[in-house]
Each structure stands twice: as structure tokens, then as C-alpha cells.
Symmetry: C2
Subunit: 437 residues, 2 copies
């Protein structure tokens, strides 16, 4: 397959998909959900092939867990599709309706972005979620999943594609590419692909961003911070830190850096509990010398097995593992400056009972998500009530944070007149009156 | 000046500017307007130096017209600032307010993008407009204007900067760079500059896009089309084509390609009038052989001095001159396909009295602006009632079309809880209820 030729065909099909009615798009989704349920045994059989290959190749258990597509995951993706059907149509919303002059009417209408390339990790449920979001929002996806789920992806894509065609979508409205080298072909399709959404490792996303002229939405790093203020509730702080680090350690919204106010009372109360909790959960602490000096003193009496290491704060980074960095800061403003300069503008939390300090933090921290007294792990499209997400964006352009349907739409301006020319407005013969309707 | 160091300082100042109240931002704008009026003689004196240098260097008259900053232009930019003050605050708008669960509240709030690099042509009024839009929207601009207006830019920037500082903005909230090589330094400031807006020639914008990892908003080409349908009002068609070509020939929203329905009656009525009008206005026609054959026959009887040339449609392009391409198409769908594949997704118009055909065109043409029965020249922030524009975007990501205040904002998600962790939702101990407030 020559990717460019297929994508070029898709480009001409995309406006037709964009013009499909809300009913037609919802019908297609229902059709997808039905077919997935009907063909579940075939899907599981193909998934077994991927799992067998993974076992042969000695793939790690954590990854195998993601590859697996079973009754539970099928139920979840079907529930997701059904939820998408109930959401408001993101397309065709009039967001501006203005009479520029008598008989010259400007409207701004939301519409699909068009052709979207999504490159995602080896997770069959991701293929279904991304496809569903694209169908709901009238976009044409080019899908490239992880190679470890080739068999499962192939049957899932086939089922979804057949279902949308049966529901009246035009041929060529979805495309799957399977070969890794086809990613490079896709990256060269600027002018045809409107948006790329890469998901995966920092290095992979960076590679995509560095090797294409197509706009890219997503995130490379996820260096999330938790700042513990002197007015923090200590138990909330420890509990939230543990959840943010351990609930899904490899996630981009897991916490990587703790900033703790340099307050004697806070440090006196927090550190023993924190050290104990980290030790019990097998989390290694990489702190500045000042932090480690405190920990060292505590470790002798309470921490037992806590593993720790003194590092320079310039070595703080995204671990995606049971390791956390820590340093003390004098004020909330020092925490804010650290986060804005060293963070990745993903999700950062403050733990405090002081609402004034919390407001300052949430106002000045320049991240997609700014939280008070809850875990950074909440940064997720499903948990925000978006039904699903195609990814999380740390860019400030277009969509920011978890990206659901709203991030998959753009708009166009429609202007209807009856022969108006700009010359008449330039000469003063006509003039604008700008009436919002 | 080391641009990176200055921009790094600006990055830490940007959240403070983002937190300025609506009143403070409006006060700053009023202060700018007052100071500009007060210091007009000094401004005109500096502008005279630029004009003298232009005369010495033999700069073309059309460009000198843009360099000139006189009473009229000063009045216009001050009127623009006063209009901006009256517009709704784009910052701090709550666009989502949702209780995820009891005591866990998610809000989405609009906020400034942050640090924005704007590289613009030699037009002093552009410097004032862009600065004003950034002040109104709480953004920190790095401004690089055309070298032909160095003296004028320097004094204007100084006046604006002093005014905003006087109004309480933090030091370093605006930056001007003057050297061409500093553009390359700016392009390397990814992670510090959030958005680049280049204005200027196709080649220049393309250079910026190809040499930075910072998101770029703008447009390279502006290949705008007018499609004349068989149900067109002939006089409207000719009048609109002339306006779209001649009212400001060098503008990105000037028409470059005419698509005319291959309908005997239409061609019979339209072509004589069109040929005559083009000839009278000194517009050269570069048509397909079929078009030129028709024109040739007409030229003998009516056109007189019409200059024309037969070319292949693959040679159609952006002229920014008194030249227009033309070809015949069988249907509106053929016109749509041509525009979607060969256009630049800027602004495209249909001339027809048939509303069904117009709707099809406006639905399926994938451009920032789709017009019926009016000139493509209306694609402009001022004419849309946005007060001013920082540029026009042909991207479908973030802002599309003329970009005013709304295109200079992003949003952040704020989540406030009282100790909630994701583990409790994963285990089923807690569950989301998603209530929009």
C-alpha cells in the first residue's frame, strides 16, 4: 500500500464524512457496538494469537495485560460507545451568528478536523475508542496500533470498518496501516493529513514532532508535581501522593516530583508519615541533599527499607517507575516557578486547606490541569466525563489536557451575501453594523 | 541581547500577566491610547526617518504607503484600541463546570496562551494592533517588525511598553527584537515561546514553519477561488470577481482562481462581460485551453486589450498580482474537489442564486471561509467585527480564519477535591456521577 495515495483518497472522502448527519454517525456507532458483540469469539481468537506471540517473545506481564482483549474490555469499549452516542453532537454548532451589514450574515459553525492520523500503543481497546471518537465527530482516522496487537487490531478494524460502511459511510473513510515504515510515509502527508496524534513513549512522540510538518497534538513528557503546602492536611497529602505515584505508575499523569514547603512544623509531621508510606510501597526517594538529610535521620528510626539517594534538582525527571524526586521550597511562589520552568505543563497539584494559597497556585501554574487536594491521576478523558479520550495534550494550542470529542473539531466561517464587495466598505459607500443575532 | 535569556525571563512573568484583572488590562490599553496621542509628533518625526531611508533605498511606492504612519493611521489604531476595550473579556470564562463526584469539581477556564512571538511586515500600525490584542488577552508578545520601519517601531514599542508598566504590568511583559538574526534565535526558544505568528510572504512563513518546533499559526499560501455556478447572477459575479482581484491585489484573500460551470447559457452570458471587465481593469487571464478558446473568440470582438495565455491547470497558483487563472468545471462537486485538493483552505466563494447548490458548496468546501455571493476580501478580523486580527490561519488546529482575541486564548482545567484518589474509583469504592453545574 502506498500510504500517500490512500490518504489522498481519504482527503476527498473527508468532506462527505463531515457532512454525515448526527443520526447517521450515531447509527454507525450503534452498528459498531452490535457487530463487536456479535463477533466476540472471533475477536478473542485473534487476540489469543497476539498473546501467544507475546509469550513466545517474552513480553513483560505489565504489557501483556494491556494486549489482552477479554469480556471485560469488550464490555468497557461497548459501554464507551454507548456513552458517546448519548453525548451532544460536537458538529454543526453555531458559535457565532452575526450580521455584518444588512443582508451580509456571518456564522461560525463547528466541523470535523478532517483526516487525523493516530499512532498508538499496543492496546486493542485504544483502537476501538479512537475509532469511535472519530466516527462520532465526523473525522476520518488513519490508525496505526502497536505491532504486538496486529491480529487483534486487524479484526477489530475490519469489524468497525464494515459496520460504518453498512451504516452508509463512504468507502475509504477509515484506514489502518500496519507496517512501522508506513509511519514515516504518513509523516510526509502534510497537506493531506490535518492532525497527528501520537501516543507512546517520550522519545517516540518527540520523533514524530521532529519529523513532520503536520500539526501534532499530544504530550512528550509528563513530569507532574505535587506541592505540599504548610497548611496541608497531612493524611490527605500522603494518601494522594501514594495514589498519584502507584495507582498506575507508567501513566503520564503519575506524580514525579514532590515540592514540600520548608516549614518546620509541616516537615516534622509530614516526613515521618511520608517516609514510612514510601518505604512500605517500595517507592525510591531521590531528593535534594536537604531532603535526604531529613530522611536519613528518620530512616534510622522508622523507615526501615526506604531506598533513597541524594541528587541535584537538575536531575529530577519523568521516571514512570516507583521513584519520586523531592525538594523543599520556601513559598508557594517558589513552587510555582519550579513547576513552570521544569514541569511539562501536564497536571500539577497543591495539597492545602488554605483556599487563598490554592487559588494563587491554580492561577499561576501554567499547566493543562491544576488541582487542589486530589490525585494527578484524575487527568483523563473518561474521568472528566468526556466518554473517552484520544490523548492528553500539553500544548496550549488547540486542545489542552484530556482530548475528547471537543478536541476533534474545528470550525469554519460561512458568509452569505447578495453581491457585497469590499470596495463599497473601503470607499464609505457601505458600512458595517455588526449585529449579533 | 540574548533572545533566549530575555524570553526565559518573560516566561516567568507571563503567569503574572495572565493573572492581571480585566480592569487592569483595559486600563493599560487606555493608557497606551493616551500616550500615543500625546506623543504623536515624536512618532511622526521617527516615521519620517524611516520614510527618508525608504526613499534613499528606492523602496516601491506601494510599500512606502504601508510604512507611513500619519494622523489617519494613528486615529485608526487608537479607534482599534478603544474598540478592544469594549469587547468582552476573553480571559477567565468558565466553559465547563462539572461535579465529577460529591465534592470533586472540575472547571475549565479560558486563559492566555502565554508567550507569543509575532513576526510581521513593515507596518507600524500592525505593531500597535498586535500589541493591543496581546495586552487585552493577557499575553506577552515578542515583536519583530519589518526592518524598513525600525525607527517608528522603536518609538511605538517604547511608548506602549512604558504605558503598560505605568498601568501596573510587570517588567519584561513585552519584548521587541530588531535584528533579523534574532528571528533564528527566537525559533529555537521552544519550551519558552508558546506560539509563533509569522506574517509575510509565502516563502517566509514556510521558512518559519520548517525551522522551529514551536507551534506556528498563520498561512503560507492564499489561493482563493470563486466558483460561478450556472444559476449565478452575472452582474454580481463580475462585480465580485473584480473586487476580489483588484480591491487589494497583494492580500492573501484576493481571488486567484475562477471556476466557471461548463454551461452554455452561463458561458454565453458571463464571458463577454467578464472578458470586458478584466480587460478594462488590466487583469491578465491565464486560462485552460478551453477557456482561452472562448476568450479568444470574444477578444476579437469585444475585449480589446485583454491579455491572456493558455496554461495547464497544474500551473494555477497564487499571483498576488493582476492575473487570474480560470477553468471550466461540469458541476459544483467538481469545483469542490478542485478547491479542496488545489486550494489553500483560506477563503472560497460560490456565486449562485440557488441556495441548495450554495449549501452543498459551503458544507463540502474545506476552507476557513466559505462564502456565497460576496467578495473573498471580507476575510479579515476587522470586517468580521473582531476589532483587529493578529493574522489569518489556514490551519484547522486551534484558530481558523481571521484570528482576533479568541484565537489568543487557551484554557486550563481546575479540579478541586478534598483528598480524592483514583484508587477508590478504580476499586469501585467511589464512582463518578458527572453533574454539569
Amino acid at each position: 500500500m502506498v500510504v500517500r495515495d490512500e490518504v489522498r483518497k481519504m482527503k476527498t472522502v473527508a468532506p462527505l464524512v463531515a457532512a454525515m448527519s448526527n443520526e447517521a454517525r450515531c447509527k454507525a456507532l450503534k452498528c459498531v457496538a452490535e457487530k463487536l458483540a456479535e463477533k466476540k469469539d472471533e475477536i478473542f481468537a485473534e487476540n489469543k494469537k497476539d498473546l501467544e506471540a507475546a509469550a513466545e517473545n517474552g513480553v513483560a506481564d505489565a504489557i501483556v495485560k494491556r494486549l489482552k482483549f477479554d469480556e471485560g474490555k469488550l464490555r468497557d469499549v461497548i459501554a464507551g460507545i454507548n456513552q458517546l452516542v448519548t453525548l451532544d453532537d460536537p458538529i454543526g454548532k453555531i458559535t457565532l451568528d452575526r450580521e455584518l451589514d444588512e443582508g451580509l450574515r456571518l456564522t461560525r459553525v463547528t466541523c470535523p478536523i478532517g483526516v487525523i492520523g493516530v499512532i498508538f500503543e499496543a492496546r486493542p481497546d485504544a483502537l476501538v475508542q479512537i475509532s469511535s471518537l472519530c466516527i462520532r465527530s465526523g473525522n476520518c482516522p488513519v490508525l496505526k496500533g502497536g505491532k504486538e496487537t496486529t491480529f487483534t487490531n486487524r479484526i477489530l478494524f475490519g469489524i468497525i470498518y464494515d459496520a460504518v460502511i453498512e451504516a452508509g459511510f463512504p468507502e475509504g473513510c477509515m484506514l489502518q496501516v500496519e507496517q512501522h515504515n508506513e509511519i514515516d510515509e504518513l509523516l510526509k502527508c502534510d497537506g493531506l493529513v490535518d492532525l497527528l496524534i501520537p501516543r507512546g513513549s517520550n522519545a517516540f512522540v518527540r520523533y514524530i514532532m521532529d519529523n513532520t510538518h503536520i500539526p501534532v497534538m499530544g504530550h512528550a513528557d509528563g513530569v507532574c508535581h505535587i506541592y505540599v503546602d504548610k497548611d496541608a492536611d497531612i493524611d490527605k497529602a500522603v494518601n494522594i501522593i501514594l495514589d498519584a505515584k502507584t495507582q498506575y505508575t507508567a501513566a503520564c499523569n503519575a506524580v514525579e516530583t514532590l515540592l514540600i514547603q520548608r516549614d518546620e512544623e509541616l516537615i516534622g509531621k509530614l516526613m515521618p508519615k511520608l517516609v514510612k508510606a514510601l518505604a512500605e510501597n517500595g517507592i525510591k526517594l531521590r531528593g535534594t541533599k536537604e531532603v535526604i538529610d531529613k530522611v536519613d535521620a528518620l530512616a534510622k528510626t522508622e523507615a526501615g527499607s526506604l531506598e533513597f539517594e541524594a541528587i541535584d534538582e537538575s536531575e529530577f525527571k519523568e521516571y514512570l517507575a516507583l521513584i519520586v524526586s523531592a525538594k523543599f521550597v520556601d513559598t508557594v511562589d517558589e513552587a510555582i516557578d519550579h513547576i513552570n520552568l521544569h514541569g511539562s505543563h501536564h497536571t500539577d497539584a497543591i495539597i492545602t486547606e488554605n483556599s487563598e494559597v490554592a487559588e494563587r497556585f491554580m492561577q499561576l501554574v501554567d499547566s493543562a490541569g491544576v488541582y487542589q487536594n486530589c490525585s494527578t491521576r484524575f487527568a483523563d478523558g473518561f474521568r472528566y466525563g468526556f466518554g473517552a479520550e484520544v490523548g492528553i495534550s500539553t500544548s496550549k494550542i488547540h486542545a489542552r489536557g484530556p482530548v475528547g470529542l471537543e478536541g476533534l473539531v474545528t470550525y469554519k466561517y460561512k458568509l452569505v451575501g447578495h453581491g457585497q464587495i469590499v470596495g463599497d466598505y473601503a470607499s464609505g459607500k457601505s458600512s458595517f453594523h455588526f449585529k449579533d443575532l
